[in-house]
C-alpha cells in the first residue's frame, strides 16, 4: 500500500447520478447507495447533483406546500439513514418562511449540518428559477479533514459575479459545485472553459458534479470533473452515464478559516487505501455526443413514464430510419416495433427499405395498408367536399390515418409512439398535425435534416455495415402523399433551409442580417414566414430531446397569435 500524498489534498467523490423528478424515495435510495460506495472508497466528502433529492427541473411541483413538506421529511430521513461515512452534499428545495431556496444540504453524522442557498438564479433559456426561488445571501464553508471547502450551486459558477471568488478570499481551499446542467451540442467544452475561468479567478481547485439522465425535453449529460488550482483536469467522468468519480484533489495550503466554518470530519487516523486515478473519459466526437443524447433522452422519457416498448412508423426514409436506430439503442431491439403503412403513393423501394431496416435491426415489423381507410374517409366526406379538387386536405388525411393507426396500436398494446419529424420540418411546419406529429416523444425534433443524414451515416459506420440501406441515403427526400412528390417541391434545398433556420431560430437574426449573409431575400422571407406561422403546430407536438443551443419549446417561447413580419413594414 502506497501512502497518500503529503501535500494537502482531499479525496472527493462526485456522484453523477440519474434522478427522477418527484421520486423522493427513489432518489434518496440512489443517494444512499452512492454515499455507501463513496465511503468504501474512503472519500472525505461526496458531492451529489443540484436538486438531487426532488430531481431537476421540478417546475411548479416545488411550489406545492405538500411537496415541500414531503421533500423536507425525505431529507431528514435521508440524513438519518446515511452511512457513517463522509459528509454528503445533497441538492434539495428548502422552505424558509414564504421563501423557497434551491439549496444544498450537508448531511453528516445523521444530521443536516449546514444548508447553502443558491445565490445566482438562472431565468433565461430553459430556466425559470426566479419563478420559484429566492436567492441565498450567505457563504457556507465546511472544514473537512482540516481543509476549508466552499459550496456553490450550478449557476453560481456561470454568472460573472458569482460567489466563488469571495469563497476563496475568505479561506476556501477548494470550491465544490452541485449542478444540473442540461446538454446541448458542444456544452461540455463550454463547461470546461467556464470552470477554467472560475478556477483562474479564484486560484482554487473546483469540483463539479453534474446530473445525468433525461427529463422531458432536457438531457443532463454528466461529464462531472475536478480541476486543480492550475486549471488542469485532475479527473473527469464520462457523459451520458451514471458514475462515481473519486479522486484525490490537491488543494493549496490553508490561509485562514472563516469564523462561521462548519466543522465536519476530523483528520484521519491512518493512511487511506490508494485509489487508481480514474481513466480520463475520451471526449466524444460531435456526432457521437449528439447520438448519445438522443439515446439517453429517449430511454429515460419512455421508461420514466412507465413504458417499456415503443412503436414507430417506418416510411423507408432517413428520418424514421434514424429514429428506429435510436429506439433500438435506447430500449433494445425486442422493445421496438416498426410499422409500414403504405398507400398508392409509396414506391416499392421505400416499402422494401422499411422492411430491410427492420430486419437489419431485428425489430418487430407490421404492414398496415392505409388505402381502403383513406378511401372510406373520402367517401363519407364526399357530400360535404363535393367535387372540389384534391388538395392538402387529402394529403393530410393520409398522414392522419397513419397517426390514428399508430395510436390504436399504442392503446391496444401499451407501446409509446415515437414520432420521426426532424427540426427542419418542425421549423417550417412541413408536417401534419395529429398525423406524423402524433405520438409520445419526438426523438429528432431538434435535429436538422442535414444532421439527420450525418448521424445516420455515423450509425452505419459504427455498425460496420449498412444497417440503414444505402438507397435510403440516395433517394431524394419525399413525404409520398401525392404522385412523384419530393420535399424540394415545397421547400428550398435542405442545406439552404437548415442554414436559414440556424440563423433565424437559433441565432435570432432578422431578415436583413440573413439576407446580408448571402441568402436570397425571397427565399429567406418565405422560410421566416413559415417558421412563424407554424408555432401552433409546435405547441401541440410531443416533447423531444433538446440538442441545439436553442430548441423549440421552453427555450424559445413565441406567441402563436403574432402579427409581426420580420423585414416588412411594421
Amino acid at each position: 500500500m502506497k501512502k497518500t500524498t503529503e501535500k494537502p489534498s482531499l479525496r472527493i467523490s462526485l456522484a453523477q447520478i440519474n434522478c427522477a423528478v418527484g421520486d423522493l424515495a427513489g432518489n434518496a435510495a440512489r443517494i444512499l447507495e452512492y454515499a455507501e460506495w463513496a465511503g468504501r472508497q474512503e472519500a472525505d466528502v461526496v458531492v451529489f447533483p443540484e436538486l438531487s433529492l426532488p430531481g431537476y427541473p421540478p417546475e411548479d411541483l416545488v411550489m406545492r406546500r405538500h411537496f415541500q413538506d414531503d421533500t423536507r421529511r425525505a431529507l431528514t430521513e435521508l440524513a438519518k439513514k446515511m452511512p457513517a461515512g463522509p459528509p454528503a452534499l445533497v441538492g434539495f428545495t428548502e422552505t424558509a418562511g414564504t421563501d423557497l431556496h434551491n439549496a444544498a444540504a450537508v448531511l453528516f453524522g445523521g444530521k443536516i449540518r449546514a444548508v447553502y442557498r443558491k445565490q445566482r438564479l438562472p431565468n433565461y433559456g430553459v430556466f425559470d428559477e426566479k419563478r420559484y426561488f429566492a436567492p441565498g445571501k450567505e457563504l457556507i464553508f465546511l472544514k473537512i479533514r482540516g481543509v476549508c471547502a466552499g459550496i456553490t450551486l450550478c449557476e453560481d459558477v456561470w454568472a460573472d459575479d458569482g460567489p466563488a471568488p469571495a469563497l476563496a478570499k475568505q479561506g476556501a481551499q477548494v470550491i465544490l459545485n452541485l449542478s444540473a446542467s442540461p446538454y446541448h451540442a458542444g456544452k461540455q467544452s463550454l463547461r470546461r472553459r467556464t470552470i477554467g475561468e472560475v478556477v483562474k479567478k479564484c486560484g482554487r481547485p473546483l469540483v463539479y458534479c453534474n446530473m445525468v439522465g433525461g427529463q422531458d425535453e432536457l438531457v443532463f449529460d454528466g461529464g462531472s470533473m475536478a480541476m486543480d488550482a492550475h486549471g488542469r483536469i485532475v479527473a473527469d467522468a464520462p457523459q451520458f452515464e451514471e458514475c462515481l468519480l473519486t479522486a484525490d484533489i490537491p488543494v493549496p495550503p490553508a490561509t485562514r478559516f472563516p469564523k462561521n466554518i462548519v466543522p465536519l470530519s476530523p483528520a484521519p487516523a491512518g493512511t487511506k487505501i490508494p485509489i487508481e486515478p480514474p481513466p480520463s473519459a475520451a471526449p466524444l466526437s460531435e456526432l457521437d455526443e449528439i447520438y448519445s443524447a438522443l439515446v439517453l433522452g429517449t430511454r429515460d422519457y419512455v421508461k420514466k413514464n412507465g413504458f417499456k416498448k415503443a412503436v414507430l412508423g417506418l416510411s423507408g426514409g432517413i428520418d424514421s430510419s434514424l429514429v428506429a436506430c435510436v429506439a433500438v439503442d435506447a430500449l433494445g431491439k425486442e422493445n421496438v416495433i416498426g410499422v409500414t403503412m403504405p398507400s398508392r403513393f409509396n414506391s416499392p423501394e421505400t416499402r422494401s427499405d422499411a422492411e430491410i431496416l427492420s430486419r437489419n435491426l431485428g425489430i418487430g415489423f407490421h404492414s398496415v395498408p392505409i388505402e381502403t381507410v383513406t378511401e372510406e374517409f373520402l367517401k363519407v366526406l364526399r357530400p360535404v367536399f363535393g367535387d372540389r379538387p384534391r388538395d392538402l386536405a387529402e394529403e393530410n388525411l393520409q398522414a392522419r390515418v397513419r397517426g390514428t393507426l399508430l395510436m390504436a396500436l399504442s392503446n391496444k398494446f401499451g407501446w409509446m409512439v415515437l414520432t420521426t419529424g426532424n427540426k427542419s420540418e418542425v421549423s417550417v411546419g412541413y408536417s401534419t398535425l395529429y398525423g406524423d406529429t402524433a405520438g409520445g416523444f419526438a426523438v429528432i425534433k431538434d435535429i436538422p435534416k442535414t444532421l439527420v443524414y450525418r448521424l445516420a451515416r455515423r450509425r452505419n459506420e459504427k455498425a460496420g455495415r449498412q444497417l440503414i440501406p444505402q438507397s435510403v441515403f440516395d433517394r431524394p427526400p419525399t413525404a409520398e402523399l401525392r404522385p412523384n412528390q419530393t420535399d424540394q417541391d415545397s421547400l428550398p434545398p435542405y442545406e439552404l433551409l437548415d442554414n436559414i433556420i440556424r440563423l433565424y431560430v437559433e441565432e435570432d437574426k432578422g431578415l436583413g442580417e440573413i439576407v446580408k449573409s448571402g441568402v436570397g431575400s425571397e427565399i429567406a422571407a418565405k422560410v421566416l414566414r413559415l417558421v412563424d406561422a407554424s408555432e401552433y403546430k409546435r405547441r401541440q407536438a410531443p416533447p423531444g430531446v433538446k440538442i441545439t443551443p436553442k430548441a423549440f419549446g421552453r427555450d424559445r417561447r413565441m406567441p402563436i397569435t403574432n402579427r409581426y413580419r420580420p423585414g416588412q413594414p411594421n
Copy 2:
C-alpha cells in the same frame, strides 16, 4: 356651456384598446386614432395600455434585436405622427444597452419627451417578465397643465413595495397607470380593491388603463377606471370592449414639483367643452363576465390568426352545445358550422338534439357518419390486433375518426376547428388525444363541467328560449363510445370531481388537506393520480381561454415525467 370645476382637476382619457402582438403598424394606427379622439374631447393627457405598441405579452419576440429595432422605429414614427393634442403615454419595450425595459413613452409635440421604466416585474402565474426585462429605478413626473402626474406600469401598483407612495411623497398629484392585466373570474373586483389600497396609501387619485382583447390563452378584459383620492370610482369603462373613457379627475392641490419634472402642456387659454360624466358600467354578473371572456377570447384567437369561420363537432351534449353558442356570439352564425358524426353508440336523442341546436342557432350543419370508416380501420388492424377483446383502443379510435374528419373539413374549407372539452375532462384526461382534443382552440378548457351547465342555462335565459334543448340538460353526460356508457362509469359525480380539482389544481392543496375537507381518500387519490398522469395530454392540447385563477398552461407548469405521488410514501 358650463365651466369646468374651479378646483384643480385634469381631464384624462383612458384608451382601452385591443392590441395585437407584433402588429406594430396596426397598433400604432389604433393609438393614433384614439389620440385624435382624446384630442377632440380636449383631454389633458391620454393613457394607453402597457406595451400597447408591441402588444402584450410578446414573449420571446422582444428578445429579438430586429424586433426591438422595429419597435423603436415604430415609436419614433408614431411620435411624429401624433396629433397636436394632449400628451400620450404609450407602452413599448425600450432597449438600453444590453438591457430591455418594459416602458412607457410620453409622446408630445412630435417627440418622445420622457420614458418611464417599470420597476416591479411580475414573474409568477402567467408572467415571465424577469426573463425579459430589467427593472427601472427612476421615478418620472410630468407637469400637465400645472398638475404633477406620476407614471406607473401595471405590477407597480400590485406589488407591496411599488413606487406609487414615493411618487406621491415627491409631489405627484395623480398616479397614472398603464396596464395589461389578464382576466380571471372575479379579477375586476380584486383590481378595485388593489387600486383602492394604493389610493389609500398615497392619498392621490389613480387612473388605470387596461388593455382589452384576447391573446392566445389570455383575455384582457379592460375595465379601466379612475379613482379619486378618497377611493371613489369617478369613471369606469366596460369590460370586454374597446372604449375611450374621458373624465375630469379632481386632484389634490400641488405641494411641490420635483426638480426633474418634465414640463408638458401649459395651462389652457380658455374653458373646455363639457363632457358628460360617462355612465358607470354596470358590473357584469359572474356568469355573464365569464361568458363574455369566452366570446372575446374565441373571437380574437380565430380572427387574429386569420380565420373567419369555425367548425365544431356537435354531439348533442352540453359541452359542444355551449361551445356552439359561444362561437355564434363570437363569430356570427353565418361563420359557424356544426358537424354531427354519429356511430352506432349514439342515441337518436343526442343526434336530434345536435340538429335542433344547429337550427336554433341558425348555423351550418352537416352529418358525417363514422361507422364505415371505423369498421375499415378495425379491418386493416385485425392482423395485428388478432382476437384481443374490445377496449379503450376501439373507443379512442372513434374519437380519432371524428377528429380526422373535422380536420379534413378544416383543411378543405379553411375553417378553424373548435374543441369542446371542459376543465373537468382536461384535468383527469377524460378525452382522446388527436380525437376530441384535435383543433385550433379549446374554448371551454378552463370551465369545469358544473360551470358549463350554469353557463348554458344562463345563455338560454338570456335568449329567452330553449336555444339549447332541455333534454341536453336532463340527459346524464356520456361520451357515447360504447353501449350505455355514462361519464360516471369512470368518474366521480361532477360536483365532487370539480371540488377536488379546484382544491388540487387551483389551490395546490395536497391529498391530506383534501381528505380533511371531507372528500373520501380513495376517490381523492384516484383523481389526483389522474390529474398528474394526464399532463402529457394537456401539453399537446390546443390553447384556450384562461378563466379560473389558475388555468392549465403557462399558469401551471408541471413536468410530464413526474414520479411524485401526493400523500403516498415518497
